[in-house]
């Protein structure tokens, strides 16, 4: 039995703030194939990857005006993968010249009892949905083309219906704070997808 590498101090999470840079757009169902075809050409050569995920959004209400939001996501088609817990901060305001939406993000892989644990912490589920689609990669950029499905019976992911007749397209990068050059690279890539899809910086607050 070999000694595993043992450190003197337990390694605690790094305090580097990671930011998510995001551009979004959408395509109608009938345009999906041509978009996928172009993405296959532009993106890194890899096996076409599809996914089927179930995401639940949890809220923790406190005395503050806005509740704390956490997203718990699990894969429905790949067994044995950890659950993905995600925190997304408020979009950073400021630089109008910045091409992408920037917000703080914390990604955590967890064991399967995540929902029980969140409930124990005081979180309550606000809504859930199923996402089904394709994922591509180009360097550090991730391009996801997926359809959102509404879950008809809470907790039952077998009875679902599409929310719309289109696919959501997201171009994102997770990078340490301060790397604004990332948004330039994203904009350049987004140019190559026009006119099939127009990826833009969409402020979620303006939609509400």
């Amino acid at each position: 039995m070999e000694a595993p590498p043992v450190t003197m101090m337990p390694v605690t999470g790094g305090t580097i703030n990671m930011m998510e840079y995001l551009l979004q757009g959408s395509v109608l169902d009938q345009s999906l194939e041509s978009l996928l075809h172009r993405l296959r050409g532009l993106c890194d050569n890899m096996e076409p990857e599809t996914f089927l995920d179930h995401e639940m959004v949890f809220l923790l209400k406190g005395q503050q005006a806005s509740p704390f939001v956490l997203r718990a996501r699990r894969s429905m088609d790949k067994t044995g993968t950890p659950w993905h817990l995600r925190y997304l901060g408020q979009p950073e305001m400021g630089d109008k010249n910045r091409h992408a939406l920037v917000r703080n993000c914390v990604d955590i892989a967890t064991s399967e009892n995540l929902t029980d644990f969140l409930m124990e912490m005081g979180f309550r589920m606000d809504h859930e949905f199923v996402a089904k689609g394709h994922v591509f990669r180009k360097g550090i950029m991730k391009i996801v083309v997926y359809k959102i499905f509404r879950i008809l019976v809470p907790g039952n992911t077998d009875s679902i219906e599409p929310l719309s007749l289109s696919y959501l397209v997201e171009l994102s990068v997770v990078a340490p704070a301060g790397q604004d050059i990332v948004s330039d690279d994203m904009r350049n890539f987004a140019e190559q997808l026009k006119p099939l899809v127009h990826l833009e910086k969409i402020d979620p607050k303006r939609l509400m």
């Binding site: 039995m1 000694a3 595993p4 590498p5 043992v6 450190t7 003197m8 101090m9 337990p10 390694v11 605690t12 999470g13 790094g14 305090t15 923790l60 209400k61 406190g62 005395q63 503050q64 704390f68 817990l85 925190y87 901060g89 914390v106 990604d107 955590i108 892989a109 967890t110 064991s111 009892n113 995540l114 029980d116 644990f117 124990e120 912490m121 005081g122």
Partner: protein, 212 residues
């Protein structure tokens, strides 16, 4: 991880914590155990801040966030008698974001540090439990690596512990409870450490021999 038993070793009469640790480690070395580096298990306490208590209508809960050097990339979060979440190291970053809802009771941080010994299929870790600057007790963790079912190896573990712990060998850990045939997991070890730390926190500053 194999079936593990975590227990407290009382300080020998008339001796200090450090001296008792030395007596124990000498016994292990005489047995033939080999020193293999060091280990550290720590535990931080969070309690629900006043702002969320009104909504829950119940007393604030205590959440423990623990780390184990045996699993350097993981973080264990548990509630007493509740679920144990195993997450990656970014969970600590999330707790910083949640500081409006969960407050870190920094004075309650407790840890056990010491040497790792390997003896054939057993892994023994003898640690000094400290809270702040003061040493509060001694923890002994014994793991029988090849077996993951508690029922199958509890007797063997006990026999081995008796060879160097003598009368201070512990009884059946409550974590095994009713589920003797379940697969043992690292979460069970962390639950045992949590119980041990809670017990030590309640003890007086200078532990007396005989109290477990």
């Amino acid at each position: 991880m194999g079936v593990t038993c975590v227990s407290q070793m009382p300080v020998a009469e008339g001796k200090s914590v450090q001296q008792t640790v030395e007596i124990l480690t000498r016994k292990l070395e005489l047995l033939g155990a080999e020193k293999q580096g060091t280990f550290c298990v720590d535990c931080e306490t969070y309690h629900t801040a006043a702002s969320t208590m009104g909504n829950q209508g119940q007393a604030g809960k205590l959440m423990y966030v623990m780390h184990n050097s045996e699993y350097p990339l993981s973080c264990f979060a548990l509630f007493e008698n509740g679920p144990c979440l195993i997450a990656d190291a970014n969970f600590d970053v999330l707790m910083v974001k949640l500081k409006g809802f969960f407050q870190n009771a920094k004075a309650n941080k407790i840890e056990s540090r010491g040497t790792r010994y390997q003896y054939c299929d057993f892994l023994v870790k003898v640690g000094t439990v400290t809270m702040g600057p003061s040493a509060r007790g001694i923890s002994v963790e014994v793991e029988y690596c090849p077996c993951v079912v508690a029922n199958d190896c509890w007797n063997l573990l006990m026999e081995f512990m008796q060879s160097f712990m003598g009368n201070h060998t512990p009884g059946n850990p409550s974590v095994f409870g009713n589920k003797h045939d379940n697969i043992y997991s690292p979460g069970d070890t962390m639950a045992q450490y949590m119980e041990l730390f809670n017990k030590i926190r309640k003890q007086q500053q200078v532990p007396v021999a005989g109290i477990r």
